[in-house]
Assembly symmetry: C2
Homo-oligomer: 222 residues x 2
DNA sequence: CCCACTTTGTGAAAGATTTCGCAAGGAGCG
DNA sequence: CGCTCCTTGCGAAATCTTTCACAAAGTGGG
């Protein structure tokens, strides 16, 4: 099974199936069909079956999938049955929002260090984690064996921080700064860019305004 | 030109071309080729030309694109040459991070109201915007003519809030809660789900670990 | 056991997106 | 002007992703 040729869309859907399965599990359901899983996840049932088929056969014909079993399978496929050590850089609003989002910890993403360059915040404690000067980033990330670096700095600092993270040996970077980062190809990089989301929404709104203006014009004609 | 059959990936890339063009403009460049624009945006030059071609011909052969002109064109295509009125629901960490991200305002996304259900925060002021009880959401959104609702609540409250927003007549919703929202199809909906991003990163890390383990095994054999 | 019904897993078809390749337009130089 | 060097715009090809459609398995009732 070539993990590398699994499409990004499939991976993102697997992640969302996880959430649906957790919910079904809480509801006490034992079995679920691809149809129901699909409805809850907002995709087609064929899509669900195809996504799962890349990794094996987890269901039983006529019955569906065993909820806890499938959840465990997907968790294991996605590497969610372990703890990932994360370092957060940037103790501003975004950093604080991420840090206090306890759901991440519950899912195995553990923030073990926080860095910032502002003397005013260095030394502060968030829960039991002390904000350190970004100068200590490389040795501290090495010492703690951090897997994932989270960039939550302003755009202008982001590349520099990413370079330090790479130097320190992280395996992956999650970037919240609205700029493209250059990293060696063996480092996994994901971007969360809220500007892109807002602007795409703007495009969609403009598109639907245009549509309804046309529609109105037609009704007036009639 | 059918705006509705433009792919989501194209729209997202247009948004990122905007950022590159703004940067080029600040650097004082007059002209840019699809090649350079592509490099800076991390895509292929054919992709840039194709994306633009859906909307018209903005370049000159042999010369490239005029930077301020192309920026204006894309802004106009995406509906960024106007102000969108936004209402933020959820005055927690994520809401606060979004509100204080002034780049949004600069780009024309103006938060004109904030709602929360916790008596402890209702009445507080963020800059010159007072947090209101979510009970006032519908009339206030109507009164202010809000275009975009931003859901920054815990997952369990998200659908209820979205329903209120729809009732109040927003045109689009940006959802930060990690759950699928149901909205009428004429409402544009975009989701920002940080859990999916982190989990996709986890998948990628696992995939590359598997690869390097194999590689190592091969070197040992040799 | 038979029949009606359900559901998976998966090739093959359809559809969507990206890349290729090149004609045609334009700049610059001698 | 003639020649070289760029670059766009775009149809066509290649690639990637989703949907279709159905055989094969499984359940349950009589």
């Amino acid at each position: 099974m070539k993990l590398s040729r699994i499409s990004d869309s499939t991976v993102r859907r697997l992640s969302s199936y996880c959430r649906v399965l957790e919910e079904l599990d809480r509801e006490g359901r034992r079995m679920v069909s691809s149809k129901r899983l699909a409805e809850r996840g907002g995709v087609s049932s064929a899509q669900v079956r195809k996504d799962l088929s890349y990794f094996g056969s987890f269901g039983r014909r006529g019955l569906g999938y065993n909820v806890p079993r499938l959840l465990e399978e997907i968790r294991s496929i996605m590497g969610l049955n372990r703890t990932w050590r994360c370092a957060l850089v940037g103790a501003g609003h975004i950093g604080s929002a991420l840090f206090s989002y306890h759901d991440f910890r519950r899912r195995g993403f553990d923030v073990v260090a926080i860095f910032d360059n502002a003397e005013a915040v260095v030394g502060q404690k968030w829960e039991d984690c002390e904000i350190q000067n970004v100068k200590k980033l490389v040795p501290e990330i090495r010492r703690l064996g951090v897997d994932i670096g989270i960039v939550a700095t302003p755009a202008r600092a982001a590349q520099e921080v990413a370079d330090l993270m790479v130097e320190a040996g992280v395996s992956g970077i999650l970037n919240f700064a609205p700029r493209k980062l250059e990293v060696p190809k063996e480092i996994s990089l994901r971007n969360v860019n809220m500007t892109i989301e807002l602007e795409s929404l703007s495009f969609a709104l403009r598109a639907s305004e245009t549509r309804s203006r046309k529609k109105r014009a037609v009704s007036v004609d009639e």
